[in-house]
Structures are given as C-alpha cells and as structure tokens.
C-alpha cells in the first residue's frame, strides 16, 4: 500500500499518547450556562432572540440572509441571560448570546431527511440550516464549499483525517468510535457533489483503516477508499493533502476546487450525518483537552458555547502553577489565550495547556543562515529571505520569496535554531501588504469616480 507524502514539512513530537486512548465523554459546563458567539464562520449574523426569551436546544438564535453565512443554534434549552461582547478564540471580543440551561433538555430539531432522495438543493439547504461549518478550525460555511462554481469539475472529496497537529486526538477518537457515521457523512457529501471519496489517514492511525474499509464494504459504497499518508506535519493542510494524495498542486491564490477536489473534516461529516439522520443542527462539538499541564488529558463532547473554564474541575483539572500557555487548538497553529474564560466554538478542535518545558519562551537570537527553514517549508518558500526583505522593508522582495504564499503552518519557526519568529513576522508582513493593496484599490476606485 502506497504511503502518500509531500516535500518539506517536519516531524514534531506527536504527543497523541496523552489522550488517544480516552473515549470521548459528554461534559456539561458547571455554571449550566453557555456563551454562544453570534457568528461562527461566514458572514456576520444578527441575533433573533432577546434577553429573557426561552429557547430550546436546536432552535436558531442568530442568522443572516447572506448566502455566505451559517446560522447559529441554541446548544442548550433555557433562558437567554445576556447578549454582549465576550472574549473568543483569537483574543477578540465578539457579540455572544449567553443562555442559562433550565435542565428541561427540550429540543427543537429539524425533521429527518433522506440525503439520497431529497435532491441536491434540498441537501445543501439542510446543511446550511444545520449551521454546519468546517470544524477543522477555518469555520468556512460547508454549504458554500459543497456548491462550487459550475465550471469547476469536482472529481474527489477528500476527508481530511490526517490530524497532523500534535496533541489533538478528537478526530482519531471519532473515527474509531463512530466509523459508520464518518462513512455515512462522507457518502452524503460525495452524493451532493457527485465525486469519488477518499479518506486520508496518517500512518499513526493506520489501525483505523480496516474499520473504515469494513464500513465502506458493509454499505456497498463503490467509489470510496481509504488512503494512508506519512505521519508528518502539515499533512492535514489542504494544499499538502491534495498534493500528497492526488499529485496535483492547487494553483497559487486558488482553492482546492481548482484542482478538482473538495476537502472536508471528520467532525464536519459527522455533523452532516446528524443533520440528515437526526435532524440535529450543529450544537455539540467534540474536542481534545490535552497538554502537559492537564492532570488527565481527555476527549470531551460539549455544547457549543461552553466556556472552557466551566469544565474545570468537573471534566478536567490542571496541575498547580504548571500552565504557561493556554492554546485554543494545537501547539503548531493554535491561538494563545489570556485565560480560560472563552467559549468552545464550532471550529475549536482542542485546548492545549502547555508547560514551560513543552513550549518555548526564549528570545530570538541572530539568524545563522542555516537554511533549515527552507528545507522545512511545505510550500517551498524561502522563509529566511522573506524575513530579510521584511526587515529591509522591501515588500516586493518579500513577495518574490513567497510572503503571500505562506500558509502559516509554523514549520520554519519550529526548526529555527535561533528561535527567529519567522511565521509570526510573516503574519505582520502579510497584514502590511494587504493594507497597502486595499489602499491602492481605494485610490484606484477614487480616481475612477473622479474621472
């Protein structure tokens, strides 16, 4: 069996052993309240409820008429207590709806729908109505992704089950515990876009392959297969997974659809399956709680909007004075947070509590031009030269060496012996370039108007 891979990348310590054997267990916030961001992916929503309203689990509480939007549902039944700005992943304050659960567990789900007979438009509408967005972190509305422009022929749906981020094991557990749901969800997606399906696993999860193949066989799905990828970071990045499995590069500035592929996530296909088979919108989310500072790392399923701190101490506890970084997501691409008072959103795949020994707090030292970043870059860019051009304030030079092609995976910073904050500088550089471009566009349009 061929193991697929790509050029570049790194082999960080996987750290999956901390939580890979822990079954996903249901957890509920100790405060009995959830704080649900009004918008989680797509265009901004408007709240449909006001303080004091009684809502049921599964009821739409915020939405927008824009096509590029995904509605948000109450994840518990209870009373709306507050609608105000709260801290969310990324350390931003955004409008959130706080609901206090009344313990009635009343639900307001949609009717069950057969995805294979309802027709493409009805299926896409169901996915949108269920508020499904990419659960790998990007939170892009799924109904938009599954409806590419007519001129793009989609040949493959790739289920990204690489889970290349260290520590995170929630996809692994989901595949292991509910392979039937994963296969069903992927089959639904394949049916909607009319393409072949490939489940892409990293070799560290090869023991799950027979389970999935068994499930595929049982359901007699002809055009679905399982592919193994080398355990390597960032195997799960869509550009690299398309390259590894299909041998096609996504054109610069393009989308996977340009290469005839749509990439979806394990959590997302499970949510799609639930949306049809149970009529259940995306109200729960499974995530990994891990890191050296966690007493007993685990995988939890919580209502969307659960404040992470409200899971302490019932669902997990932290070692005394051990945490130096609270990361929403994994250590390679996650966001460092100021505290635990932020909600689990649809795109939150894990929370990692890192100790001083696991993360690095040392200062940058001088670049020694070793070229390790060039070797590690999965996009084949020249990180060291981008930094030099940025320091020289030469944006054209930085772009030539690949600034705008950077996927921010962090491989360059990871391998740097001088701890130069390469990708961190690229984010700033990209911001400057984008601001300049917006400025130029504004100027150009102003000039157009005056003519």
């Amino acid at each position: 069996m061929k193991t697929h891979t790509f050029k570049g990348g790194i082999y960080p310590q996987e750290m999956k052993e901390l939580s890979k054997d822990c079954a996903i267990v249901d957890a509920f916030p100790s405060t009995k309240t959830v704080t649900i961001p009004v918008t989680m992916g797509g265009a901004p929503n408007t709240p449909l409820v006001k303080v004091g309203d009684v809502v049921k689990r599964g009821q739409v509480i915020a939405k927008s008429d824009k096509f590029m939007s995904a509605p948000v549902h109450a994840s518990v039944s209870g009373k709306v207590k507050k609608i105000q700005s709260c801290l969310v992943t990324g350390n931003m304050e955004v409008p959130c709806i706080t609901i206090e659960a009344d313990g009635s567990n009343e639900t307001e789900y949609m009717p069950v729908l057969d995805p294979f007979t309802c027709g493409k438009q009805a299926a896409l509408d169901r996915i949108r109505d269920a508020g499904i967005v990419g659960m790998g972190g990007a939170s892009f509305p799924t109904h938009v992704k599954l409806n590419p422009p007519a001129d793009k022929k989609i040949n493959y749906v790739l289920l990204n089950a690489a889970e290349c981020e260290p520590y995170l094991t929630v996809d692994e557990r989901t595949l292991l515990e509910t392979p039937e749901k994963v296969v069903d969800g992927l089959n639904i997606v394949m049916n909607i876009v009319g393409a072949e399906g490939i489940i892409a696993l990293e070799t560290n999860k090869d023991y799950i392959k027979p389970l999935l193949e068994n499930e595929i066989q049982k359901n007699n799905i002809k055009n679905m297969s399982v592919a193994l990828c080398k355990t390597k970071y960032p195997q799960g990045c869509e550009k690299n997974i398309v390259d590894a499995i299909l041998g096609i590069e996504i054109p610069a500035g393009g989308l996977p659809a340009d290469a005839g592929a749509i990439i979806t996530n394990v959590g997302t296909v499970c949510a799609i399956s639930d949306a049809f088979r149970k009529g259940m919108p995306l109200v729960d989310r499974a995530l990994t709680i891990s890191g050296g500072a966690v007493e007993k790392p685990c995988n939890l399923r919580v209502p969307v909007g659960t404040i992470v701190g409200d899971l302490i101490p019932d669902a997990f506890t932290l070692k005394q004075d051990a945490t130096v970084k609270i990361v929403s997501g994994g250590p390679m691409m996650g966001f460092a947070m100021t505290n635990t008072q932020f909600p689990v959103a649809k795109g939150t795949s894990g929370i990692t509590f890192l100790t001083k020994e696991e993360t690095y707090l040392v200062d940058e030292s001088q670049c020694i031009s070793c070229g390790r970043c060039v070797e590690a870059c999965p996009m084949h860019l020249t990180p060291v030269m981008i930094v030099r051009e940025l320091k020289a304030e030469n944006l054209a030079g930085a772009k030539k060496f690949g600034l705008m092609d950077c996927i921010e995976c962090g491989c360059c910073s990871y391998v740097c012996p001088s701890n130069v904050r390469l990708v961190q500088r690229f984010r700033i550089g990209k911001g400057i370039v984008r601001a300049k471009m917006a400025e130029e566009r504004a100027k150009a349009s102003a000039a157009g108007v005056s003519k």
Partner: protein, 350 residues
C-alpha cells in the same frame, strides 16, 4: 494575567507556533566540533605536539578575540554559541603544523574580527572566517606558510621540538604532491594512494586524512547539520573537469582516472567541501543556489589547479564564490502552486 480556574500564575501570549524542535546554534556548533575531533586527534598523531599547540593557540585566540570584540563594541557576548571555537579549529586544521604560534594568533584575529565581527557577527559575514584568516596568513607570510611542511616520515621526532621555531624543523619544501603534479614530477602508485587516503603524509594538520574527512561528512549529513548539495556538486565538478581535461591532454582514460583520484586525495578539496562550502552564513540558503555555489567552487578549484599559479585552488575558489553567494539566493525552488500544471488549472478556472 491571573486566572484562578487555570490554576496558574503567569500566562504567556504569542502568535503560533508554540512548539519548537529545540535545536540551537550551540548544539549545531558542538556537533561540528565533534565532527572535527577525529581530524584534530589524527593531526596530532601524524604531526606531533606542534599540531596540538597550533590547534590550542588557534581556538583560544579565536574565542578570546571574539569575546574582546563583542565587549569592546558593546554587543551581546555570544562566545558560548561555540561558533568562534569552530572557526579556531577550522583555521588550525587548514594550516601547516609548523606555523609559528604568533602567526596563528594573527590568523585567528583576522578570521574572527575582520572576516566575521566587522561584518555583523554570526550569520552576517560574507567570507568564510577561517579561510579568510588562512588567506591572510598565506599572503602575508608566504615564505613560511608555503614552504614549511613537516614530513611525518622524515625521521625527526615529532614530540621533541614542539616549541622551537620553524627554521629548526626538518621541513620539506614544496613537499605536497600537488606542487609536484604542477611541476610534472609526481609519481603515483597504489601504495601512494592508500597512504594519501589514510593521510600519513605532509600537509595541513586536518586535511591529510581523506578517510576521516569522509567519516565526518557522513556524520554531519546524518545529524542534518549540513546539506549535501554544495559539497557533492563541488567534488563532482572537480572530478568531471579533471577527467575531461586530462583525457584531452593525455588521450588516456587510465591516466585521467589516476589524475581524478589524486585530485580527490590531495590538497584541501574534501576538507573544504565538507567543512567550508557548508558554512551557513557564507553559502546560499536556497537549494538551487547551493547547487550552483558548489559547481562554482568546483570549477574555480579546477581552473586554479590546472592553469593557475597556485598548486591549490580550494581556498580561493570558496572565497570567490562566497562573494557571489548572496546573489545565488535569488535562485529559489519553485514555489507550491506555481507549477505548469497548477497554472494551467488556474487558466482553465478563469
């Protein structure tokens, strides 16, 4: 910010990644020192106590001058990253064991202060520090540096005259095979080749044992401290150029093959390819850049050896290519998403 729930005192914020391989400049330099250790030990075995004195003098003065320079210029003192120590060892290994100590000290000063410190320190220098120090010594003291080779087979005890001056040494003038080849007086047989491969011969302290240099090369490749591209293209270019030129001038492939073997076994080619063209700061960082860099070093080495006034061309070829290295960084690998196929897809999409 404190967070009672997080059960902690201090939380750090930063942009991702929050994970590192944990490699450091110090670790890299220490690995290079380990790789250089066999050459040092063998050099002392072959050339005696005098070689040990040269190595110690070079390392101590390199580290001392780096410390002094960073103190005087009020920079952060970073001698603990061991890069000055590496420069010191490299310098000692590319000069004859009979070099007077005061000359070694001046060489180290030039290497560490002029070639590196004044250019902005580690990572910022244009020219290889050790080779710049060596070039300075060979130019300034050419009478002593080029003619005072100690022949290990001379019968003079190598342990007895450790600290006496170069003039008392039974030095063999123009003893290197390269100068003999240059003058057409060299005779080569299998035993000579084996002797050169093992390294028991006249020459610079660390350059004589091809066997040990190959071991170091493999060690540095395996530990991923160096990249194969520049060394392999450099040596490959010398092999091809020497063979072709020899076939043209002698018309005999077997003589050409002998010439190729001697080109590899003699002089500083393999030492330079392993330790000098792989120097981070003075070589390109990009993969295609390194290939061209190695090719240039190999070609210039060949040209100097074949047509130049010096018997050995490795040092100058590397220093010349050092000057070009920053421009070679413009040769980059093709970025992801810019291939013909991807561009085609993009066009079709539009």
């Amino acid at each position: 910010m404190t967070d009672t729930k997080a059960n902690t005192k201090e939380i750090y914020l930063s942009s991702s990644p929050h994970f590192t391989f944990g490699s450091s400049t110090q670790w890299i330099m220490a690995t290079v020192l380990i790789a250089l250790l066999p050459e040092c030990i063998y050099g002392v075995i072959v050339f005696g106590l005098r070689a040990l004195v040269t190595i110690i003098a070079s390392v101590v003065s390199a580290v001392f001058f780096e410390y002094l320079f960073q103190k005087i210029t009020k920079r952060e003192v970073v001698v603990s990253n061991l890069s000055a120590a590496v420069t010191g060892v490299l310098l000692a290994l590319v000069i004859p064991s009979t070099t007077p100590v005061w000359m070694v000290v001046i060489g180290a000063l030039v290497a560490v202060v002029i070639a590196k410190g004044l250019f902005g320190g580690i990572g910022s220098n244009t020219f290889n520090p050790a080779l710049t120090g060596r070039a300075f010594m060979f130019m300034s003291f050419s009478a002593i540096m080029g003619a005072s080779w100690f022949n290990p087979e001379s019968g003079v005890s190598k342990w007895s005259y450790a600290l006496t001056g170069a003039s008392n040494v039974d030095a063999v003038s123009s003893a290197t095979i390269l100068s003999q080849i240059e003058s057409g007086t060299a005779s080569i047989d299998g035993a000579t080749m084996l002797q050169y491969f093992v390294g028991n011969r006249a020459g610079c302290i660390g350059e004589t044992s091809i066997m040990l240099i190959l071991l170091s090369f493999i060690f540095l490749l395996v530990t991923k401290v160096i990249d194969w591209r520049a060394p392999v293209t450099m040596v490959g270019t010398v092999i091809v150029a020497t063979f072709v030129s020899s076939v043209i001038s002698t018309g005999s492939a077997s003589i050409a093959a002998t010439d190729v073997i001697m080109a590899l076994l003699t002089g500083g080619l393999l030492f330079g390819a392993t330790f000098m063209v792989t120097d981070y700061a003075t070589a390109p960082v990009t993969k295609p850049g390194r290939l061209v860099f190695g090719f240039g070093c190999g070609l210039i080495t060949f040209l100097i050896r074949r047509f130049g006034g010096y018997p050995e061309g490795v040092m100058f070829s590397i220093l010349i290519m050092n000057a070009v290295a920053p421009f070679l960084n413009n040769l980059t690998s093709r970025k992801y998403g810019y291939g013909k196929k991807a561009m085609q897809l993009k066009k079709e999409g539009k």
